[in-house]
């Protein structure tokens, strides 16, 4: 075992993963213990509350040690840990291999770190729930699968993780399965994700057909030579992969499941539907950056879809009243940003935003969770059935929940891109590169979406914490701050939301020191992809599409965001809202946005109903007519043949022998003639 000082030292020895399997095993053990525990210690709140978080924190500790070890070691190729051979069929050799490189290490840190915090938070949030142990089992299982996804050294293992997190997502969205709506939300997430998984699978098949292997290292090493730049194959592979990403990461056209996924417990939303799982698509694109770099069409598609999603989701977010819905659309929008980044080739920026977004979006969700927790308790005390999630029922909570209020403002400022919060650095980098690489329209959209973000987030804060309290006279006295086990995670995440961006500070900014820690860290991973891109004409213009350097536009965007925040605040802080029960749905443009551009309805009309009609036809004609008919016909035919055959069955051995001899004679005759 390496000692810590030794880990911090810089050595030139190759990096050897420390207890690699235990990173996966700990959460799995936690899941198993809690899973069986759900049947054994039904009412016990202590054991799951200790085992669940401890497993993840343990994994986090191992990851940190590994990170330090990797940082100390010389730059190197990915380290692959082969556990065992999973399947061997023909040419296909799929091993359970774990890939330790800079990208997966960063993801490990983010996943286990944020997970640890959220697990701790869950101890408080879920305390009242009867499915406490089951909850932690799912959550641990999710962490396990997420780590598998991140660590997989080939498409197949990644796909296992991919499906596993999908499963856990489904389980957790439908955690309160007694509620039909929640359960169907889980189903929706699952089904929509299947469409994406189909893309992933097809991509995987294509990769195997063309490379004969599924290992990332081999595929990426041989891809530039094996496939034509911009050719059909690589485009198809990447587009299918991206189809998978749109499903998992909630991009157009498959984003519709994510807002509904808010049916799950709020910590789940924070962990899965904001910080980790939904970023898997981004991670996958980054992981397969070499392939994407070779397919300009796909890149354009990725960037365009990302930008479109960012704008669309941002607009919808402005008119939502459910606090979690707002955050959900915000997540979709931010994911769009990340896709824009990885689409245009600014992979580091995309991953950077992924990281910071994990911090502040987790913070925001947990904050909203705290709010909901408080509201729920208040309503519960007075036996009210009002919706605790609806912002129209909130307002003026800052007096009751100061810590939540403060930390959520940190998150809001961070997501809005106000200097020096984390979001400023990452989002600014994306927007800047969009312009600098010459994608003018995207740059514009990104800017607009950024301003919209500042707007709807301020709206959320104002409606929730400022103004008068609309909870209702009866419930109001019962509002109070959440326990320490819940606000300490908020504080931790708030700190991370502030300092998280300081790992990467552009040279161009005045006053601030230039930091390239993340860039340097991820450089070895994205170098091949960057090389391909630069060989085909990608270059940094050092100015935006309409002129001006990075420092200037960074200033402009932060100032603009600040202005938007101030304006929104002023406009809304004195406005009054009717409580949700009395309010009417908005009309006009606001109505369209409130109804999410009627996308769900559109999908219903265009896809679901025709499909239903088609399947109904299939049932009538194909199933009942053709299949059943042929089966029945076969049965009748068999019966008829059997009846004829039974005529030959005399029950006399000699007769059978005669048939047998005749048959043998026929066979022999064919030999002879």
């Amino acid at each position: 075992m390496l000692s810590l000082p030794l880990l911090l030292q810089e050595t030139h020895a190759a990096y050897v993963p420390i207890l690699p399997a235990w990173i996966l095993l700990l959460p799995l053990i936690g899941a198993v213990v809690n899973g069986f525990g759900a049947f054994i210690w039904r009412g016990n709140k202590v054991i799951p509350g200790v085992v669940g978080p401890a497993a993840v924190i343990g994994a986090f500790a191992i990851v940190v040690v590994n990170f330090l070890a990797m940082r100390g070691a010389a730059p190197h190729d990915p380290t692959i840990v082969s556990l065992w051979t999973w399947m061997a069929a023909g040419d296909l050799r799929v091993g359970v291999d774990l890939q330790f490189d800079q990208l997966s290490m960063l993801m490990l840190l983010v996943v286990t770190g944020v997970s640890s915090v959220i697990h701790v938070y869950s101890i408080g949030y879920m305390r009242e729930d009867p499915g406490y142990s089951r909850y932690f089992a799912y959550l641990n299982l999710f962490v396990f699968f997420m780590l598998v996804l991140v660590l997989g050294a080939n498409f197949a293992i990644t796909f296992v993780g991919w499906e596993g997190v999908g499963l856990c997502s489904y389980l957790l969205i439908g955690f309160w399965y007694e509620n039909r709506e929640f359960a169907s939300a889980g189903k929706k997430a699952f089904i929509v994700n299947r469409i994406g998984d189909f893309g992933f699978l097809v991509a995987m098949f294509l990769v195997f057909v063309h490379f004969g292997t599924l290992n990332y290292e081999t595929v990426f090493a041989s891809a530039p030579a094996a496939l034509a730049y911009g050719g059909t194959v690589v485009t198809a592979i990447t587009l299918f992969l991206f189809l998978g990403c749109t499903g998992k990461s909630a991009q157009i056209p498959l984003y519709v499941w994510l807002p509904d996924a808010m049916a799950g417990p709020t910590p789940v939303s924070a962990l899965i539907h904001a910080a980790t799982m939904v970023t898997a698509g981004v991670y996958l694109v980054a992981r397969t950056s070499v392939l994407f770099a070779m397919a300009p069409v796909s890149q354009a598609v990725v960037a365009a879809v990302g930008a479109g999603t960012a704008l669309l989701a941002a607009t919808i977010a402005t008119q939502q009243y459910d606090i979690k819905k707002v955050l959900a659309y915000s997540t979709v929008s931010q994911l769009g940003y990340m896709f824009v980044a990885v689409g245009i080739g600014a992979y580091t920026a995309g991953i950077f935003h992924l990281m910071t977004h994990a911090f502040f979006k987790a913070l925001l969700f947990l904050g909203s969770g705290a709010v909901i927790h408080a509201m729920h308790h208040a309503y519960h005390e007075v036996q009210s059935h009002e919706d605790p999630n609806d912002m129209r029922n909130q307002g003026g909570l800052k007096g009751y929940m100061p810590i939540t209020f403060a930390t959520m403002w940190v998150g809001t400022l961070a997501i809005s891109g106000i200097i020096p919060f984390a979001g400023f650095f990452s989002k600014d980098e994306i927007i800047w590169y969009t312009g600098a690489y010459g994608y003018g329209i995207l740059w514009g959209i990104a800017l607009v979406a950024a301003l919209l973000t500042a707007g709807y987030m301020t709206r959320l804060m104002v409606m929730t914490f400022h103004g008068e309290n609309r909870t209702g006279a009866a419930a109001e006295p019962h509002l109070h701050e959440v326990p320490a086990v819940m606000w300490i995670p908020l504080a931790i995440l708030a700190v991370l939301s502030i300092v998280g961006g300081w790992v990467n500070i552009p040279d161009a900014l005045p006053v601030l020191p230039a930091v390239h820690a993340l860039h340097d860290w991820l450089h070895p991973v994205f170098e091949p992809a960057r090389g391909i891109l630069e060989a085909h004409g990608l270059h940094d213009a050092h100015s935006s599409p309409i002129g001006g350097g990075e420092a200037m536009w960074a200033g402009i965007s932060t100032v603009a965001a600040a202005v938007v925040i101030l304006l929104t605040f002023r406009a809304l802080v004195h406005r009054t809202w009717k409580p949700a029960a009395e309010a009417t749905d908005p009309t006009g443009l606001a109505g369209v946005l409130y109804n999410k551009w009627y996308v769900d309805e559109l999908y219903d009309r265009v896809i679901v109903l025709p499909l239903l009609a088609l399947w109904r036809g299939c049932w009538r004609i194909v199933d009942a007519g053709l299949i059943d008919g042929s089966i029945n016909g076969l049965a009748a035919g068999t019966r008829a043949v059997g009846w004829i055959g039974s005529l030959f069955q005399t029950g006399r051995v000699a007769t059978y022998m005669f048939y047998f001899v005749t048959g043998v004679l026929v066979i022999l005759a064919t030999f002879l003639l």
Partner: protein, 175 residues
Amino acid sequence: MMEAFFFLLFAVMAAGGAIMMIASRNPVSSLMYLVLAFFALSGIFVLLDAHFLAAVQVIVYAGAIMVLFLFVIMLLNLGHREDIDMRGHLARLVALVAGSALFAAVAALVLRGDESTLASEESRLAVEAMVRARGAVGALAEPLFTSYLVPFELTSLLLLVAIVGAIVLARRRAP
């Protein structure tokens, strides 16, 4: 020459025994003719250098299986029921035709076949060398206990099952 003489002797014994077996009306006669045929066959096995199988042929067929048949014939007292045994003329004709056709077809195939594949000198020498090196029993034991060990063990299982099955089937049920 000697070999040919003995082969002819045994072949006639075997063929005659077989024919008499199906022609005898008395089951015990049939059985004894069959034993004769088996005995002659074991002689032919010896001529074909399959000494071990010749011995096993006598032990298993003549010594065990046919005694079992005989025992059953006697136990069920079938030795004297001769009236119903043979079928009518038509069946006999059919049997004659079918049997002759079968024999003719196979014999024609054998005669048309390339004889060298059956008895190439080198293969015969190889088998003989094997037999000389390990003895008649050892030569057969070699493949039996290496490549065919599992089938061999399964055979013992088969026999066990047969024993149990026979006992269960033939046991007199308690009234």
